[in-house]
Amino acid sequence: MEEPVPVTAEPVLSFWDQHRYMLLIGISIGIAIFLVVVSMALYESSGAAQLDLSRPGYSSVTSQAVKNDGDFQNYPTSGALDKASLDQFKSLYDKQASQAKAVDAFSGDPLSPEVLELSTPANQ
């Protein structure tokens, strides 16, 4: 003789209870999109985008970026000041200053209409 199977009442699930996994996935995607938007906004507004040579269009110059300025020594912040330490600073500073000033960066006028040939001969 078979034992009677207890009949249990079917729990009534609301719409959100039935779709809780979809809700979880949706919220996760929403948070991910929000964080991506925030990080992209920071990337653009902070000036990091301008320093990112891995962006498309910069592949021709990526290899020329200075990745290690190890020869640019830190001057020690502690210790007594005497002739030797002052001479050391002078020597370090003069060396780096001459390198920093060696290039007259962003000089010239490469965007002038004449250079880009955007002006008619009458305007030249």
Partner: protein
Amino acid sequence: MFIVKRLIIGISLATVVSGLFFGIVAAQTQPMTDAQISQIKNNCVSAKSTIARLHANDALLRVNRGQMYESMTTKLMARFNARVDSNHLDSKDLESVTQNYNTALETFRTDYQAYEESLSGALNIDCTKEPVTFYDAVADARTKRSRVHVDVIKLHQYIDDYSAAFDAFTANFYKLSGAGN
């Protein structure tokens, strides 16, 4: 002598900037002729290629020069000022030049960002359909690039100023300590 030198540099900078500004404004106020619009349409593809190369080269320049300008203050100026300060000596002049240098460096960063955004905007314009907009965008980028160059000149000037302040500090230090002979 020092003041005269700075005055001459200041006047030269003002002349260059105002010359460029008025030149560009004068160019923009002139109505564009059909011939010029046609010239822009014909040459804009090669112009965009030149601008794209300049865009990449200037980005490289910004990264490499920016790194060097940054190191000048973080690895030398600030560290020497700290050492002078830790020895209880007067570093007011050195700190003043360093502060000016840092302000100029911040302006350089901001101006370069504005220039790059302007140049990228120009590159994104379809110059065959919008030749006048393209021309104006390039003119805007040109003005902003000249500002970045002025910032670079200022940074070089402050590098010299720090050197002069260091020499003055050293002379005073030797005078007070009786060393250096």
